[in-house]
Each structure stands twice: as structure tokens, then as C-alpha cells.
């Protein structure tokens, strides 16, 4: 069996190992054999939009070498659908990179979720290596670039939370997106209807609406929360940045965009703006061109009595 060609795989052909996770929509199982694969099994397969899951699989198939490798590196993307008796029951995906797990006090492997970047370290998870300020900055940049790529592929991520972005600083700063079956083509519904995670919803979004703009709001949340090490920071509220994560120029640019993200729907900073702000480039103030002054109108020439005369139509 190979998951890489995107063709549907029969559930019966999979040798399932232990249960790795249990979420609202389904369970995740280890798949024995090569490829470090996981199987997400939907709890309610009859509610799954199988064609939309196929779109996500196809989208990966259409990417060429380097782009596909990058997607695989940065996201637990659906590789192929799993079917049983003609019904789609779930999909296969790759396991998150080992570098994005940590060992708890009992030796169990746990995912290094975004949540560990959002508050001061606690004894219970002291084994999670905390990033230096410059690594923290690099992680934020990696999130921005990941979402930028998603948007440039015409995708909307939808649910963004402390639990579905993984990260590591070894060997270098990198991030990895989970729950990618929640990603949808912009303007289309997702594979399964999905609720936002509490504390991660866009207060301005129409109920149930997931748009590029709501993604932009959530990226602002990630940026602010990681840079401030504050799980509950939100645009419109003061942002207390950690020392050393941004220089003055970047800080001013980030604060301006943080403010802008609190604004109305449709006006949230796009990913390019965040990239520019984080790049710390000097900005050049552009003056809008002034329209040429209107010429004075000599009314006496325009408003005089009209003399139409008559035109003879005969020779």
C-alpha cells in the first residue's frame, strides 16, 4: 500500500496500531508499516463531504516536487482517503516530525503544541525546550509564511488554535499544521462543519463564516500571543511583548498591524503586511499624487445664448 499516489485506500488493508488521539470529530490511529502514517477515523462518516476531502488530496497531488515536499513538511495533509464498503471513513496523513514531540515525566511522547509558547513555563512541562527570543521571532515568521502559502494556494485554514500548530527549534525553528481536513478552498464549505476553538474566534466574523479575513485575524492572534507569551492577548487590547523578541522598528510595525487587526472585517492585515513588518524594513512614506488643479472656467464663453441656425438638407 502506498498513500503517496493519492488513490483511495481500503480500510481493510490497513494494519492499525494504537490510538494516538481522540478529538471531537474522530480518532487518530497509528498505521503499522512504512511511511510513519496515521489514520484519522471519522466518528460520523455519513456527515463527511467525501468529494471535498478528495479535493484536498488532489491539491497535494498537483503540487510539484519541492512544493509538495514543503507541504508535507509543514502540514499533516490528507494523503489519501480511506474507504470501507464504498463509504469514506477517514484519511491517511503523516505523523508530525519527531522534533515536534516532547517526553513528559512518565516518558510518554506528547505533541509540542503552540500552547507551550503562550505562557510562562510550568514545572509539569519543563521538558519542553523554550525558544530564545530570536527563535521565538523565527517561529512567528514561520507561521506567517505557512499561512501565506496556504492563502496563495487558494485555501482558508479555518480553525487555528493552541492545539493545531506544532513547533520546534531543533534543528531550526519550524512549525507544522495539524487538523488539515479543516482546511478548505476559499469560498467552499469544509469536509466537516467545524466550530472555532474557544479563545480563537474572530469576533467580527459572521457566525459560521470562515474566510481569508478570519484567517488573517487568527494569524494576528498567533503573532501577538507568541511574541507576548500571553495565551489570551487579542487585537484591541494592549500587547506586552517579551523582551528581546523585536527591535524598535519591528515592534512599531507589529503594533500598528496588531491595532489594524482589531478593525472591521475585511480590513485585517494580510500576510504580506506581516512579513514586511517582521522583516523590519525601513518604510518609505509615499505621498498620494495631487490631482492637477481644475482650470478656471470662463462661464461667459459657455453659457451664452445658443444660435442653432438651420441647416438646409437640399442642394
Amino acid at each position: 500500500m502506498t498513500a503517496d499516489d493519492g488513490a483511495d485506500v481500503a480500510l481493510g488493508s490497513l494494519r492499525l496500531g494504537g490510538r494516538m488521539g481522540d478529538g471531537g470529530q474522530g480518532e487518530v490511529f497509528d498505521v503499522e508499516g512504512p511511511g510513519r502514517l496515521l489514520y484519522k477515523s471519522y466518528r460520523e462518516p455519513h456527515k463527511v463531504a467525501a468529494d471535498r476531502l478528495a479535493h484536498l488530496v488532489d491539491l497535494r497531488q498537483q503540487l510539484t516536487g519541492a512544493d509538495r515536499d514543503r507541504l508535507d513538511r509543514e502540514a499533516a495533509w490528507p494523503l489519501c482517503r480511506v474507504v470501507d464498503g464504498g463509504r469514506v471513513t477517514g484519511f491517511l496523513m503523516r505523523r508530525a516530525p519527531d522534533a515536534m514531540t516532547w517526553r513528559d515525566a512518565r516518558g510518554d511522547a506528547r505533541l509540542t503544541e503552540l500552547s507551550y509558547l503562550l505562557r510562562a513555563p510550568k514545572a509539569a512541562w519543563r521538558a519542553v525546550p523554550q525558544p530564545s527570543p530570536s527563535e521565538r521571532f523565527a517561529l512567528v515568521l514561520a507561521v506567517v509564511e505557512l499561512f501565506d502559502r496556504m492563502h496563495s494556494l487558494g485555501l482558508v485554514v479555518g480553525d487555528v488554535s493552541q492545539a493545531n500548530v506544532l513547533w520546534t527549534v531543533h534543528p531550526g525553528p519550524a512549525v507544522h499544521l495539524l487538523d488539515c481536513d479543516g482546511v478548505r478552498l476559499a469560498g467552499r464549505p469544509p469536509v466537516l462543519t467545524q466550530a472555532d476553538t474557544p479563545d480563537w474566534h474572530d469576533p467580527m466574523a459572521l457566525p459560521g463564516a470562515v474566510t481569508v479575513d478570519s484567517d488573517r485575524y487568527k494569524v494576528a492572534l498567533v503573532i501577538g500571543r507568541v511574541l507576548a507569551q500571553d495565551a489570551y492577548a487579542a487585537p484591541g487590547r494592549p500587547l506586552t511583548l517579551l523582551a528581546g523578541v523585536l527591535d524598535d522598528r519591528r515592534e512599531a510595525a507589529v503594533r500598528a498591524l496588531w491595532q489594524q487587526a482589531a478593525g472591521p472585517r475585511g480590513g485585517r492585515p494580510h500576510l504580506g503586511q506581516w512579513r514586511a513588518a517582521l522583516a523590519g524594513r525601513r518604510t518609505i512614506k509615499l505621498m498620494a499624487a495631487q490631482p492637477a488643479p481644475r482650470p478656471e472656467v470662463d462661464r461667459t464663453k459657455l453659457d451664452g445664448p445658443r444660435r442653432r441656425g438651420r441647416i438646409s438638407l437640399r442642394d
Partner: protein, 221 residues
């Protein structure tokens, strides 16, 4: 921050000696481990352990589980005073809610998991229960009965859900491990529905059924 306090009221009377008390003490590290390594759950919940027999003792005052490394164990001995348990619970809740508010938190109605393996040996317990029920921050009570506990009493104590150990099919120790798992799930799943700013409130997630227990009807509600 919106906080949901959980109270575990555990019977540590003489009849709990041996496997039952060991099962609960053995399950507490699991509960702590599950919650303390999940920062989002730890942020929004607090945990308090009260042991009761002749008297009731706050063994672990209300705490963010990620802030502690050890917890006093339960130790069996004495009779089963429900009245002491309810009085201590009420006093703890009053003080804890006030303290959380002083720290700038908002507090959801507390949740109490009550576990007993016997019938109350004090006569005035119903008065203490009434006072708890009438108090301003009366908790939602989920009651579990094992061993010699009486179903009608467990149903009377609960105001949210009640469970009785199934006869002979499971040992008290097995039932208690399931009880602790159910408590852990309740904390994790309830926290998952909570927003820090209150948002649209939250859903108290309590298992409808717990392995090894039968669900007791609370028709009185």
C-alpha cells in the same frame, strides 16, 4: 480569566482501607499528569481535594494543578460523616470563590465529585446538605457510590448526576479507577468548551455512563 473550580470529596472512612484507598491515591497522579501538562485546561480549572471520615479535611486547597508537584494522600480510618463533608465543602467554596475574585477572576459555579463507600453515620448530614444547597455558590454535585453505599442516599446527594457501582462485575478498586478517569475527562472536556473571557459560557461535560457503574436516575429533579 473565567475559572471552573472542581472539588473532589472522597470518603476515607475505615471501610475504604486497602485497595479502595490505594486505587484513589494511585489515580491522583494520573489526574494531575493529564491536566498539568495541558496548559489550556490548567489555566481555566482549579482542583481541591477533601477527604472525609469522622471529620473532613481539605487535603489539597484549591490549586492550579500545574503549580503543584505533590498532594497529600488519602488515609482510611473512622466513620462516615457526610455532614462534615458538606460543611467543609461549603466553607471552602465560599473562601475560594472570594479569593479567586480578589485575584481578578470570574468564577463559574463549582463542580463537586462526591465519592462514598458507605451510608452516612451522622444523623444531621441532611441539614448540612440543605445549607450547602441553599448557599450562594452551591456546586453542581456528581455523586458516586461504591461498596456499601446506598443508592437512594447517593441520588439524594447528587444534583447533577449519580452513579452506583455495578454489583460484583467490578471490584471497588477498578470502579474507583474509572471514577477518577471520569473526573479527569470531565475537567478536560469542560475546559475545552470554556473561553477565557466567558464568551458563551461553557458546557459541564460529565459522562452519561461510567464503566463499572450504573447511572442512577435523578427523577427528583
Amino acid at each position: 480569566m473565567q475559572i471552573l473550580p472542581f472539588y473532589l470529596l472522597c470518603d476515607e472512612s475505615g471501610s475504604m482501607t486497602g485497595e479502595p484507598i490505594d486505587a484513589i491515591n494511585g489515580a491522583l497522579p494520573d489526574l494531575h499528569h493529564e491536566i498539568s501538562t495541558n496548559p489550556t485546561v490548567a489555566d481555566k480549572t482549579r482542583f481541591c481535594l477533601i477527604g472525609f471520615s469522622d471529620t473532613a479535611t481539605v487535603l489539597q486547597p484549591l490549586v492550579d494543578l500545574s503549580d503543584i508537584d505533590e498532594v497529600p494522600g488519602l488515609a482510611a480510618g473512622g466513620l462516615t460523616s457526610y455532614g462534615e463533608a458538606f460543611r467543609t465543602l461549603r466553607n471552602s467554596i465560599e473562601a475560594d470563590v472570594a479569593a479567586l475574585k480578589t485575584q481578578g477572576h470570574e468564577v463559574y459555579r463549582p463542580v463537586a465529585f462526591f465519592l462514598s463507600d458507605g451510608i452516612p453515620t451522622d444523623h444531621a448530614w441532611e441539614q448540612a446538605y440543605k445549607e450547602l444547597s441553599a448557599s450562594r455558590y452551591c456546586p453542581k454535585i456528581i455523586a458516586f457510590g461504591i461498596g456499601e453505599a446506598e443508592e437512594s442516599v447517593i441520588a439524594q446527594v447528587a444534583n447533577f448526576r449519580a452513579f452506583m457501582q455495578q454489583d460484583s462485575s467490578v471490584s471497588p478498586a477498578q470502579a474507583l479507577r474509572e471514577f477518577a478517569s471520569s473526573l479527569t475527562r470531565s475537567i478536560v472536556r469542560s475546559a475545552a468548551t470554556m473561553a477565557a473571557d466567558g464568551g458563551n459560557g461553557f458546557t459541564l461535560a460529565v459522562d452519561d455512563t461510567v464503566p463499572g457503574f450504573s447511572t442512577v436516575s435523578l427523577d427528583k429533579l
